[in-house]
């Protein structure tokens, strides 16, 4: 009987000790874990952003060829976000501009006249490298940034007279300058939204487009980041 009592007492003491110490230990550890810097602050991480863009033609491209805003523009960007305020990446895009004019007679350089309904199109596939400078920490809900980009575009200028096409395809330099902001959905989270307004210019010279293709691109996007 006696030995059992001693064992029981030991067990009870042990149980009491654990019951008291363990919660205390846990309570002490939780805040410590929470105050650790986020992995997004500690490491260079990756980010992929898909954007949908409205492109408003500007300058001589708008005056001489297509002035209609295009809603057929998409892009995808892959980005390396450094521990400082900079990030670099690459962006691949697609833009399609189109404008139809009522039937008219056009005087050609060889002296002929062409009466037709013109359908003016310009397709562009820009591939650009970019640098972002962010004005806010990595886990801020709102993270404004500025962007510079440069690269090349595959361009397809196709001007239809009725169903006859005058086509020119070229690869030409492209550059851009933009401002935007990221909006994190959840602190420390992986997902967020991105809005950006960007001027993009591409040198191109053919027929109606003599001073390049330029547009103001307003885009909304979603991003995913990981480390």
């Amino acid at each position: 009987m006696v030995p059992i009592d001693i064992k029981m007492k030991k067990l009870i003491i042990a149980a009491l000790l654990f019951a008291g110490i363990l919660p205390a230990f846990a309570q002490e550890q939780a805040p410590k874990l929470y105050t650790l810097p986020s992995p997004y602050d500690r490491y260079t991480h990756y980010q992929v952003t898909a954007r949908y863009t409205a492109a408003i033609p500007v300058g001589s491209f708008s005056n001489n060829y297509i002035d209609k805003t295009s809603f057929e523009n998409y892009s995808i960007a892959l980005e390396w976000v450094f521990q400082n305020s900079f990030s670099v990446g690459g962006e691949l895009g697609y833009s399609f501009f189109k404008k139809r004019l009522p039937r008219a007679t056009y005087q050609q350089s060889d002296g002929s006249e062409i009466s037709a309904i013109q359908t003016r199109t310009l397709t562009q596939y820009p591939i650009q490298a970019f640098v972002n400078y962010s004005f806010a920490p990595k886990n801020a809900t709102v993270q404004p940034y500025v962007q510079l980009s440069a690269g090349a575009s595959v361009l397809d200028y196709t001007l239809y007279y009725g169903i006859l096409a005058d086509q020119q395809q070229k690869i030409r330099p492209t550059y851009g300058i933009g401002v935007g902001s990221k909006f994190l959905f959840k602190k420390d989270g992986n997902f967020g939204a991105d809005i950006r307004v960007k001027y993009q210019g591409t040198s191109f010279d053919y027929e109606y487009v003599d001073k390049g293709v330029s547009a103001i691109n307003a885009s909304v996007g979603l991003f995913y980041r990981w480390w």
């Binding site: 992929v48 898909a50 998409y74 995808i76 892959l78 691949l92 697609y94 399609f96 189109k98 039937r103 007679t105 060889d110 002296g111 002929s112 006249e113 062409i114 009466s115 037709a116 309904i117 359908t119 199109t121 596939y125 595959v154 397809d156 196709t158 239809y160 007279y161 009725g162 169903i163 006859l164 395809q169 690869i171 995913y224 990981w226």
Partner: protein
């Protein structure tokens, strides 16, 4: 998993961009039609008074040619006469020495064309999904159009080796859809003459 997600987004992008859209497939036949006219800048149309029209239509198919006179051809020729008369010219028979003569032709060209696809290697190189899709591809295409020509008979070159030589002083091409539709013939011919205001004697 993460890589798979981003790959899917990229794949969707390619799918969106690789669908080649035809920006003019919504045009009606009449809207798709194109009228191309040209003239000899040295020709003085005011110096002409009479005209005649060939009694049939030349049919040119690739390198072969012949003549035909279908009801469609008749409609076309008679509408040419109407237009010339409206411009102030007097219709005379061919043997009455007209100042100008008009001919019409139905031309069909079938040719093989080589097209360059600038995107295939560029996408293919990135993600491999499009291997085997060549940069260059050959396609056969066929196009038919109407051609109307005005010949200067008054000032024909009689010194030419094989008989008389006539200069083409005006020509029109009618291209696009619905060219064999008899309902459109009058409007098509009217359009070709209508945009060549310098032909008017009035």
């Amino acid at each position: 998993m993460l890589r798979k997600a981003s790959f899917l987004i990229i794949s969707a992008m390619i799918w969106l961009t690789s669908c080649s859209n035809d920006p003019v497939n919504d045009l009606s036949d009449l809207d798709s039609q194109v009228f191309i006219t040209n003239r000899d800048k040295s020709a003085n149309f005011k110096s002409f008074k009479t005209f005649s029209v060939s009694d049939s239509v030349t049919v040119v198919q690739d390198n072969r040619s012949g003549t035909a006179l279908t009801s469609l051809d008749k409609d076309l020729l008679s509408r040419i006469i109407t237009n010339m008369q409206n411009l102030g010219y007097t219709y005379v028979a061919l043997d009455k020495k007209p100042d100008v003569g008009l001919t019409a032709a139905r031309i069909t060209n079938t040719y093989q064309d080589v097209a360059y696809n600038p995107y295939s290697s560029y996408w293919g190189g990135f993600y491999g999904g499009f291997y085997g899709y060549p940069n260059y591809y050959v396609y056969e295409t066929s196009e038919s159009y109407w051609s109307i020509s005005m010949l200067d008979i008054k000032n024909a070159d009689t010194t030419a080796a094989n008989g008389k030589k006539f200069n083409v002083i005006w020509d029109a091409q009618i291209r696009g859809g619905g060219l064999a539709n008899p309902d459109y013939i009058d409007e098509m011919v009217d359009s070709a003459f209508g945009q060549s205001t310098y032909l008017s004697l009035k």
